[in-house]
């Protein structure tokens, strides 16, 4: 993949649109500082990655003098097969947009990012952060940024440098493999655990079956005439209980249900018949009781006559009592009057006695005083007793007693009549009930007299049916036992077969689980090896890279004594570290800190050498190019010439883009990097007179040497 064109607009030092023809083996960018050389190189990096780590946020990329307020970069590339790829990236101050044109198709944003990785550097897709990996690959092996030349050696920590180089030499693939194996092992273990759990479940089922088998009675063989017994019982049941419409074979799983249903139906029917017998007995007793009793109507009539008589007697007694009571009242009034007269006489006698003399004090008549006194005293002594009263009271009491007796007799007659009437009603009800019972019991008697016989016949028939049902149920229970035993025997055989199958299956599963665990453990060993192998792979790759590093360093030949450079790798706790050291083979002395023994000029030469070594040595690159932004600063002449000779040789293998702030040196580069074959081309870009519209840009092809060989030709 090579660069063929770069267009910038509003990007850093290029406010206006400008397009650069980069379709050359060597592109030399010449301009004093501040003319846009670095912006040009940054344009390539940003266009391809959307990221310039050393600058940070995208808004710093937009030129302050951009007429559109946005930065836009177009990078045209050509694949090794000659296909064109155009990457267009823009930033409007808020959003970065990407478009990719390749193979007559246009991709945008995420689709473009994915396609760009596929086209540019598929290895980045194996890394956790493909965008960062692509940026790192470009900045560590393609684009050596001006400000970071020496930092390439000095600033990065040994660990950071190792990790960056690891990505380039392919350790990421080892990490990918390790992660993939770890995920696969986890999934494998999960599946193995599920199988182990299934195995436990199977063993549990086997134990349960064996437990069932141990509780099942030993098989005694099938009953000999069981089938015939079953058929006969079913035929009888169809008559007796009608509990089923379909009778299955004895071996059927429905047979126990049929038996159970029939036995229950027998029990219900027997209970019904027993109730019928009770009803028949009750009816029988009722019929017998009704026969022993007289007619209730006659008794009521007799009792009614008795009552009428008692009522008449009671009325007579009560009239007599009223008469006696009236007579007694008259007598008591007469006695009262007499008693009052006698009281008055006694008072007069008492008064007369006190005034008694020989002559009447009132009239003066002489009288026999003694005789008078005696009579007066006699009057005074009379107490008013009435011997005629007692017979009158006795008559009333007698009449009252007779009346009471008559009343009691009337009440008794009334009660007797009520009882008789009630009994008559009850008997009527009993008869109605009996008739209902007769009807309900389905008895068909031609007359009341025939009813006892019919009842007796019904009792006999019902008892016989009960006996038959009991026998049927008993045979059913026996059959149920036979069926259950038969089913248990069948079940036992099935369980034995299932147990045998499960034993075989569990053995197979146990072997499978064990085999899977062995494979998982083996994968674990490989995984453990891979975890430490990543750093060792990088170290090995770097060991392979070291001759190239050495060759490039020797080509630049920056130091008369420290002529050997080594890449030192070490691994601690699975993390690799990388440092560069310089070595004097003659004095057998070296330094792991090159900056302490090399000058700035020599350090720059070492940095460029290491950078080129990575560019030339890593298995794949996003671009078959080397971009060096003004790397030859502070170089003395010999190192300058050495590096230029190195770059001239690099040009044959890589598209070389190089900038310099030194116009004289730029001309030297133009001459040194001149095309020497018809197929080669070099471009010179001169940037000058920068103002707010950007620099003045002059572009032209580098001069071609008209004759390849001048002396040896």
């Amino acid at each position: 993949m090579r660069l063929t064109r770069l267009s910038l607009s509003g990007f850093r030092g290029f406010p206006g649109p400008v397009s650069f023809d980069l379709d050359a083996d060597a592109v030399i960018v010449i301009g004093v500082n501040g003319q846009g050389k670095t912006s040009l190189f940054d344009g390539v990096l940003w266009g391809l990655t959307g990221n310039i780590p050393r600058l940070g946020e995208d808004h710093r990329l937009v030129s302050l003098y951009s007429s559109t307020g946005e930065a836009r970069v177009e990078v045209d590339l050509r694949t090794s097969s000659g296909a064109s790829v155009r990457v267009v990236r823009s930033f409007d101050g808020e959003v970065q947009q990407l478009r990719l044109e390749h193979a007559d198709k246009i991709y945008k944003d995420d689709g473009a990012r994915l396609r760009l990785l596929e086209v540019l550097w598929p290895d980045a897709m194996h890394t956790p952060d493909s965008a960062s990996a692509l940026t790192a690959a470009l900045t560590k092996s393609v684009y050596l940024q001006q400000d970071l030349v020496r930092e390439f050696i000095e600033a990065d920590s040994e660990q950071e440098r190792f990790e960056a180089v690891s990505e380039l030499v392919g350790a990421g693939r080892v990490t990918d493999l390790s992660l993939a194996l770890e995920r696969a092992k986890t999934a494998w273990s999960r599946a193995t655990n599920l199988l182990a759990k299934d195995l436990e479940d199977e063993l549990g089922r086997l134990r349960a079956i064996e437990d069932q088998l141990s509780r099942l009675p030993q098989s005694e063989g099938e009953p000999g005439d069981a089938a015939e017994t079953w058929a006969a019982w079913c035929a009888r049941d169809e008559v007796l209980t009608k509990s089923s419409t379909n009778y299955p074979p004895m071996e059927s799983s429905d047979a126990p249900l049929v038996v159970d249903r029939a036995v229950k139906a027998s029990r219900v029917e027997r209970q019904r018949l027993e109730r019928r017998i009770d009803s028949l007995h009750e009816l029988q007793q009722a019929v017998e009781g009704a026969d022993a009793e007289g007619s209730p109507a006659d008794e009521v009539a007799v009792l009614q006559a008795d009552l009428d008589k008692a009522v008449a007697e009671f009325e007579s007694a009560r009239a007599e009592l009223e008469r006696a009571q009236a007579q007694a009242a008259e007598q008591r009034r007469a006695q009262l009057n007499l008693h009052e007269a006698r009281a008055e006489l006694r008072a007069l006698a008492e008064l007369a006695l006190r005034h008694l003399g020989p002559a009447c004090p009132v009239c003066g008549q002489v009288h026999d005083e003694d005789a008078t006194r005696s009579r007066l005293e006699k009057l005074r002594e009379e107490d008013g007793g009435d011997e005629h009263t007692a017979p009158e009271v006795s008559d009333v009491a007698s009449a009252a007693a007779r009346s009471k007796e008559a009343e009691v007799a009337q009440a008794g007659a009334t009660a007797a009549l009520d009882a008789a009437r009630k009994q008559a009603r009850e008997k009527a009800l009993l008869r109605t009930e009996r008739e209902r019972q007769v009807h309900e019991l389905g008895l068909e008697a031609t007359s009341d007299e025939d009813l006892p016989r019919v009842i007796d016949t019904a009792l006999e028939a019902t008892s016989a049916r009960i006996t038959e049902l009991e026998g049927h149920a008993s045979r059913g229970e026996q059959l149920a036992l036979d069926i259950t035993r038969l089913a248990e025997a069948t079940r036992g055989n099935e369980l034995k077969q299932e147990a045998d199958r499960l034993r075989a299956a569990t053995e197979e599963s146990r072997a499978a689980v064990s085999a899977r665990e062995e494979s998982g453990n083996l994968a674990g060993l490989v995984l453990e090896g891979l975890r430490t192998a990543g750093s060792e792979v990088v170290a090995t790759q770097l060991e392979r890279l070291e001759p190239l590093v050495q060759r490039i360093y020797a080509t630049a030949d920056p130091h008369p004594s420290f002529r050997v450079v080594r890449l030192l790798t070490k691994t601690a706790r699975g993390r690799g570290r990388l440092s560069a050291s310089v070595f004097d083979p003659h004095a057998d002395r070296g330094s792991n800190s090159p900056s302490t023994v090399l000058s700035s000029s020599q350090m720059n030469a070492l940095a460029v050498s290491l950078f080129l070594a990575l560019n030339f040595g890593v298995p794949s690159l996003p671009l078959q190019a080397v971009m060096l932004d003004d790397p030859l600063q502070s170089l003395d002449d010999v190192n300058l010439l050495g590096l230029i000779d190195l770059l001239r040789r690099a040009k044959d293998e890589r598209q070389l883009l190089m900038s310099t702030h030194d116009v004289r040196f730029g001309r030297l580069l133009t001459r040194k990097l001149r095309p020497v074959h018809e197929q080669q081309r070099s471009r010179v870009i001169e940037l000058s007179a920068w103002d707010t519209t950007g620099p003045i840009v002059e572009q032209f092809d580098g001069p071609r040497d008209p004759a390849r060989l001048r002396i040896a030709a």
Binding site: A533, E536, D637, K672, L709, I711
Partner: protein, 203 residues
């Protein structure tokens, strides 16, 4: 006589000639050796440059005569091209001697550096017996003149995976075949554990 390395002046000139010829340089046969007194000169040219390889038997001769050789080279180039020709600036003088200078005092080493750092007229590549202990040292001296070879384009990072079977076997005793099967499954996006399982069953 100055003590020397195991390589002779003949070794040096023969090896340098072969290396340059194999790197695309064409030898300039018709030269005037009189311009290179006390030395065995060989001149070569490729599209970029003109190279004079001059071997001296001793460091003393080299130190004494190298300017003569430089003058002869410049004169030769001037005879064939003008100062406007880009190649007129592309002369390289390779100065070799099998003799050792390390046994001398620092002034000799400084003299070597002085020649290297003298970039006037042509660039000088200098190597003495101290640097030239074996034939490969001659190629190292000539490296600035030789083409660079990058790794094959289009190579894949998957190459590092090929290193793993042997590495894991050496470090952890893991059979190389199981690692190979895992890597193949990984590259073909098949189940890695099934690959391990297949290996275990077949082992």
């Amino acid at each position: 006589m100055t003590p020397g390395s195991a390589l002779t002046a003949t070794d040096l000139i023969a090896a340098a000639s072969q290396i340059l010829a194999e790197s695309g340089y064409r030898r300039i046969a018709d030269i005037d050796e009189a311009g290179f007194p006390g030395a065995k000169p060989r001149l070569y040219e490729d599209p970029y440059s003109v190279v004079a390889v001059v071997v001296y038997e001793t460091w003393a001769e080299l130190e004494l005569r190298w300017t003569d050789a430089q003058g002869a080279l410049v004169e030769l180039m001037s005879a064939h091209m003008t100062s406007e020709d880009p190649k007129s600036w592309e002369g390289y003088l390779v100065l070799l001697t099998p003799s050792l200078v390390g046994g001398f005092d620092d002034s000799h080493s400084q003299a070597v550096s002085a020649i290297r750092y003298d970039t006037s007229r042509v660039r000088k590549l200098v190597a003495t017996g101290d640097d030239l202990e074996q034939l490969s040292d001659i190629e190292r001296t000539l490296l600035p003149l030789l083409p660079l070879r990058a790794s094959q384009p289009g190579g894949s990072q998957d190459r590092v995976l090929e290193m793993l079977p042997e590495l894991l076997h050496t470090r952890s005793g893991i059979d190389e075949k199981v690692t190979e099967r895992v890597i193949t499954a990984f590259q073909e996006q098949r189940s890695l554990l099934e690959a391990v399982d297949d290996y275990r069953r077949s082992a």
